[in-house]
């Protein structure tokens, strides 16, 4: 059956939310991410700023060099989360088959909704409602599969509406550069260029066997995409697959005390969220970015799932020591991720044990923090952060407020 899939993407999301709030910011180069003299990266840039070459993910300092006139904002994650929730609620009114991708984009399967008008009409209705209720602009791509819908919405930005009729997928994709395909990163793009392939049409015309031998299973996926073939369904989200927290330091550092304090803070945040959702993690990952942007992740998995701050911290602290023992370089970013989550069902203890006591302790700390804020009760380790980070309503403000939950 031919499906009708929308890819709906809010344009310059964080910036647009700020602009909707403060109309003076409209039509100006605006960058959300933080102050340009601080660390961190561009979380979102207005189209006026993008004209100067500013891109999301770029260090703020570089953005400042490209566009010194830009208005740099700290941003606020709760504000964006709130806007995102309202956006998703509007989409859910059009079809229950909704798959949010992050905060600002989503796939919507409207197959069988013809009763309410043509696909184009539905898309216009969505755009109109989002504009009216949230004062935000969306781009919509309409196609028979996810990958084409996504590329269609991208090519209509900002504010576009691009419909690719069934059968037209290959023709639509063919003239576009290969980098537009999801899954084609810088390395794949280069490897393709070496083969003389720059356009999606050229890639689509390659014999499948050749693509497979050069790029493996991932290559086959890209090849299918290039041909406008994508059998992925639009799937409403299941439960969270992982929980993570990370932060960039104000200055690259090797100060053990600061590293450990920050790591401990991130662990407590991850632990608290695990406990809030009655989840336990079987694997814990440490993410470490050095000053030269070399990024490594180290993971430890165990049969025993955990959500205890102390256990999570012990694991990542050891991983950090091992990583730094191997490569002693200034650290730019630390992150902690809990994954392989298992649900409820807690093994009860027969003998009074350390882990049982830790569990009681975590629970008590969670209750206190819920009422009085994070900084109201702390371990000696995180207390060391108080001289470094400002606190706001009993909570530490890390370096990228727009992304701090």
């Amino acid at each position: 059956m031919t499906r009708c899939i929308f890819h709906i993407d809010l344009d310059a999301f964080f910036v647009s939310v700020e602009q909707a709030l403060v109309p003076e910011l409209l039509s100006k180069p605006v960058i959300v991410g933080g102050r340009p003299d601080r660390r961190g990266v561009v979380a979102s840039a207005s189209y006026e700023a993008r004209a100067f070459g500013v891109r999301a993910g770029m260090p703020l300092a570089k953005a400042y060099r490209l566009c010194p006139r830009a208005i740099f904002l700290q941003g606020s994650f709760p504000r964006y989360r709130n806007a995102s929730a309202r956006f998703m609620r509007i989409l859910a009114d059009f079809s229950p088959c909704l798959e949010p991708m992050g905060l600002d984009e989503a796939y919507l399967d409207v197959t069988g909704c013809e009763l309410y008008g043509s696909a184009r009409q539905l898309a216009l209705n969505i755009k109109e409602r989002v504009k009216r209720e949230l004062n935000l602009v969306v781009s919509v791509g309409i196609a028979g599969c996810k990958v084409v819908a996504k590329i269609a919405s991208d090519s209509g930005k900002p504010g576009g509406l691009v419909e690719v009729a069934p059968g037209q997928e290959k023709g639509f994709l063919a003239p576009l550069p290969v980098a537009r395909l999801p899954g084609v990163g810088r390395k794949t793009e280069q490897a393709l260029r070496v083969m003389g392939i720059t356009g999606i049409g050229q890639l689509a015309a390659l014999p499948p066997g050749l693509v497979k031998s050069r790029f493996g299973a991932a290559g086959m996926m890209i090849h299918h995409y290039a041909n406008g073939v994508d059998n992925r369904r639009v799937e409403p989200p299941g439960e969270a697959k992982s929980i993570s927290r990370e932060t960039t330091f104000a200055q690259d550092t090797l100060d053990r005390r600061l590293l450990q304090a920050t790591l401990r803070y991130l662990c407590e945040r991850v632990g608290a969220e695990l406990r809030q959702h009655s989840k336990q993690a079987r694997s814990i990952t440490l993410k470490l970015r050095y000053a030269d942007f070399e990024t490594i992740t180290r993971r430890l998995s165990s049969k025993e799932a955990t959500n205890a701050d102390e256990v999570i911290f012990a694991i990542v602290a050891r991983l950090l020591d091992q990583a730094l023992a191997r490569k002693q370089k200034l650290v730019r970013l630390l992150g902690v991720e809990a994954l392989n989550l298992v649900g409820d069902g807690k093994q009860l203890y027969l003998l009074d044990s350390m882990s049982q006591r830790m569990e009681h302790l975590d629970k008590a700390v969670d209750r206190i923090r819920k009422k009085y804020g994070f900084t109201s009760i702390q371990t000696g380790r995180t207390l060391a952060l108080k001289d470094i980070f400002a606190s706001d309503k009993g909570d530490y403000m890390l370096e990228t407020p727009s992304l701090s939950r």
């Binding site: 298992v342 409820d344 069902g345 093994q347 027969l350």
Partner: protein
């Protein structure tokens, strides 16, 4: 040293003492096996300083002597030889081996440098039937903790009291206690903690033993000696206080379900396939029968977003309906070692310990803490 022996005997002896050869060690000689003539036999010994195993095999000794040889090399070489006579001769530190048309020379280290195998014999001594000891070890040792955070829990408490021997192990989530009779009473009540690993090794040797096993402690209660026919094993003991477990065994129940062990085990293993993705949770729902219908126990598991299963077995139930969830592994571990055909599961509440007792005997009890789940 000059002697000859059978390849089959030497190979078997090496595999027995090989269990005590050190793997990672700072004392390289403990990776060797000590070979020494002992009257008209050949004695093989190995030790990792925690566990020492000696084994005697028949040999025709022409000249006394002793040497230590790298255990792995020797074991692999001997086991690949044909089943024939092996002639051994020691010149300086080189052991020459000849068997059929094969020959090897291996450099050894001086036997004098080998750590002494402890002599144990001045404390209490007891004798026990092989079968009784095997059953006790099999039903208790697997419970012992594998992680080292509380060292006493990595061992099995062995209690001598009159003619009664009680083995107990716990890992924080479960407890197993097995008692059995000694062949003659000991005159002094005594409790020691033997590393679970040592008992597991001992259990291997018991399979082809028939004569009673001698258990001897040293006076300081720091070592235990197990003497079998042609095999001796000495283990260091774990020092510390074992938790007093008798109060952890519930004395009453609200629901008691008697079921067939094999059926229960099959249903549990089936559920554990589905429980693998969750934290290994199997859920038991126990429903008493009415006048004409028998009681039943439902054993179920579910894997999020994948599926679920449920198995039903007959149960003879005394008391109220009950629901309780366990880690599948803990349940199947114990069911797999029971020798009886029927077992009773006694429960009080969904969050208080479940007690498993084989029906027809009263020498074994197993306690498992449940998992707290949303029903």
């Amino acid at each position: 040293m000059k002697l000859s022996c059978l390849q089959e005997n030497l190979s078997k002896g090496l595999s027995i003492v090989g269990r005590a050869v050190a793997t990672r060690t700072t004392l390289p000689i403990t990776q060797n096996v000590l070979i020494a003539t002992d009257q008209s036999r050949l004695k093989l010994s190995a030790t990792n300083l925690e566990l020492a195993i000696s084994c005697w095999i028949g040999a025709r000794v022409e000249e006394e002597g002793a040497i230590t040889i790298p255990a792995r090399l020797l074991t692999e070489f001997i086991s690949s030889l044909p089943n024939d006579h092996i002639d051994m001769a020691l010149t300086q530190h080189i052991l020459q081996l000849k068997c059929a048309r094969f020959e090897a020379r291996i450099n050894g280290l001086d036997a004098e440098d080998f750590p002494p195998i402890p002599q144990v014999g001045d404390g209490i001594a007891a004798k026990i039937e092989v079968e009784a000891l095997r059953q006790g070890i099999s039903q208790v040792t697997f419970v012992a903790a594998t992680e080292e955070s509380r060292p006493v829990l990595t061992g099995v408490q062995v209690e001598f009291d009159g003619d009664k021997l009680t083995l107990a192990a716990a890992d924080g989530f479960r407890l197993a206690v097995h008692s059995t009779a000694l062949l003659s009473p000991v005159n002094e009540k005594s409790a020691i903690i033997i590393p679970a690993r040592a008992l597991n090794e001992l259990n291997r040797f018991l399979t082809d033993q028939e004569e009673p096993v001698e258990i001897t402690l040293n006076e300081q209660k720091s070592q235990v000696l197990f003497r079998l026919k042609n095999i001796e094993m000495v283990s260091q003991l774990i020092q510390g206080a074992f938790p007093s477990y008798s109060q952890l065994i519930p004395q009453s129940y609200v629901t008691r379900a008697v079921v067939d062990v094999a059926e229960f085990l099959r249903a549990t293993r089936m559920a554990s396939i589905f429980a693998r993705d969750g934290s290994g949770i199997v859920r038991l729902a126990i429903t008493p029968g009415a006048e004409l219908t028998p009681g039943k126990m439902n054993i179920s598991a579910r894997a999020e977003e994948i599926g679920d299963n449920v198995g039903e077995i007959d149960a003879l139930i005394d008391g109220e309906p009950a629901k309780i969830a366990f880690n599948a592994k803990y349940l199947s571990d114990v069911l797999a070692v029971l020798r009886q055909t029927q077992v009773a599961l006694e429960t009080t509440t969904p969050s208080s310990p479940g007690v498993i007792r084989p029906v027809g005997v009263d020498n074994y009890v197993h306690v498992i803490m449940p998992m707290f789940v949303q029903w």
